[in-house]
Symmetry: C2
Subunit: 295 residues, 2 copies
């Protein structure tokens, strides 16, 4: 299968403004994202949230793309409607006209440039290997909660293939030059891969690639009334993709008690203290380190 | 004059949540902020903005405290009303019942722990010298736009004396353990100073203190339609309180042009790329390095 139609979604979250400004740049000079072997277009994911300088208007657009939800006429919030429109433009999810969706995000966490892949398979493993060859500083983040693409809620799953470009740390509503450059470079590297893939011209790639697979989220400690009684311990802050061992300091309560990690094996953190996850009291994601093997 | 009544204002900006959680901690154990020689209370500056997880509801509470505005009955936004209520509780500004107001803030800029002083005078110079003795990592930020206290718009000017505790970097809506600790330590150091000042028990202090005085703000480059055409150059990012020389890279336009600093002398940056200042297209504050001299 060739990659004939590519879409880059910018500003899925209204206060992650890096993608919005990259889109403006690419409108001025579309040659930056064009390649000979496919068509490419950009799409402003959530214009109303951008105007409000907020993550979303009613609820998170990047959780609205399960096939059942896209086909449920009773779901009618701003983002539920917006998801249906994006599904018309880039999908439909069951048989998409778009072969590859690249969705641009930033995080307040110290994750550096990260590529998130929502599905398994040879295409993704080759993409990861190519990206790591060209940009060794990129972390590969596997988020494969659901074997069936239809059960995935991420925007990028509306295409046949899809990935998230996720770069941090940058505060919400801030444009950093370094994060802007990393986001553009990673996007271009993914586009280069698709072009080489189409032309059967990929270089020789490593046979195994280090990656991290999402296991679960950890919540902040709360009291019986649901109020937070502590925060992430400073030993964990900014430590994305480093080891968290059983017994390591994890939380600090406001009355001065250290709460240690209670797991039974070493895991790795990601989205550490991400601002947007406070809504759900999430403190950090826990990951396992894995190897992706090329066929 | 003794410091008899002290107020600590927390959460003046609704998405700077460090002060809010410090207030919760101090409610559990008020001995942390109590001293023998004065009364101390805490006040939640902007509860509605905190509930919304936004800087403000209608406009910035920390710009509403000019005496003329406090006494103008036509000003009736949420924050204009809130300022009048705080003026009743801690002021009135013309003859305040509160001797010292400490207003807790955070910034997305890489400023470390900073103490902002809105007025000149022996009290402030001694306070700065004491703080630098106990916490050499603190930067002293002089923001003395107006000689007359009545013309100042900051919350902390509602007391006879007032300072801002300003710590970063931390994204909006995020609680960082290290910033929480620095904010608490700086607040306690200011309270210690007030207690020693009352008891005429200050240690010997240095005769001169390094500080930075606000000169002006620089705006981001925009086109004729008012749209941003560039961002702060990465050489300036995170460089708060370091030198910016004529000819140094300052902005990067989206089409790849570097814009250099056009001033005629070396200045120093502060509030570099602060998220909250995007509303007004502000890129950075420019400061001069000064010496405060103790009498």
């Amino acid at each position: 299968m060739s990659i004939n139609e590519v879409a880059i979604v910018c500003g899925t979250h209204g206060n992650e403004i890096t993608g919005y400004y990259l889109m403006q740049k690419w409108h001025q000079d579309s040659s930056i994202i064009e390649r000979d072997s496919f068509n490419v277009k950009t799409l402003h994911g959530n214009p109303s949230a951008y105007e409000l300088n907020r993550r979303y208007v009613d609820n998170d657009l990047n959780r609205r793309f399960k096939t059942a939800d896209l086909n449920n006429p009773k779901l009618a919030s701003y983002e539920e409607n917006r998801a249906k429109v994006i599904n018309q433009l880039l999908g439909p999810k069951e048989n998409p006209k778009t072969d590859l969706v690249i969705d641009l995000h930033t995080t307040t966490s110290n994750m550096g440039p990260t590529m998130l892949m929502p599905q398994r398979g040879d295409f993704y493993n080759s993409l990861a290997a190519y990206v790591k060859t060209k940009m060794p500083e990129v972390t590969i983040f596997c988020d494969e909660d659901h074997k069936d693409r239809n059960d995935h809620h991420l925007v990028c799953t509306v295409g046949k293939y899809g990935v998230i470009v996720e770069v941090g740390p940058v505060p919400q509503s801030v444009l950093r030059h370094d994060v802007f450059e990393q986001s553009e470079q990673l996007t271009q590297t993914i586009l280069d891969f698709a072009d080489l893939y189409n032309r059967d011209a990929l270089p020789e790639l490593p046979k195994t690639i280090e990656a991290f697979r999402f296991l679960k989220s950890l919540t902040l400690p709360v009291n019986e009334a649901g109020e937070r009684i502590g925060m992430l311990h400073k030993n964990v802050q900014d430590s994305d993709f480093t080891a968290l061992n059983p017994g390591d300091p994890l939380f600090m309560t406001f009355d001065g008690e250290v709460i240690n990690y209670q797991g039974d094996k070493t895991v790795y953190t990601a989205f550490v203290n991400e601002a947007a996850y406070y809504d759900n009291n999430l403190a950090t994601s826990l990951m396992e380190k894995i190897e992706l093997k090329l066929g």
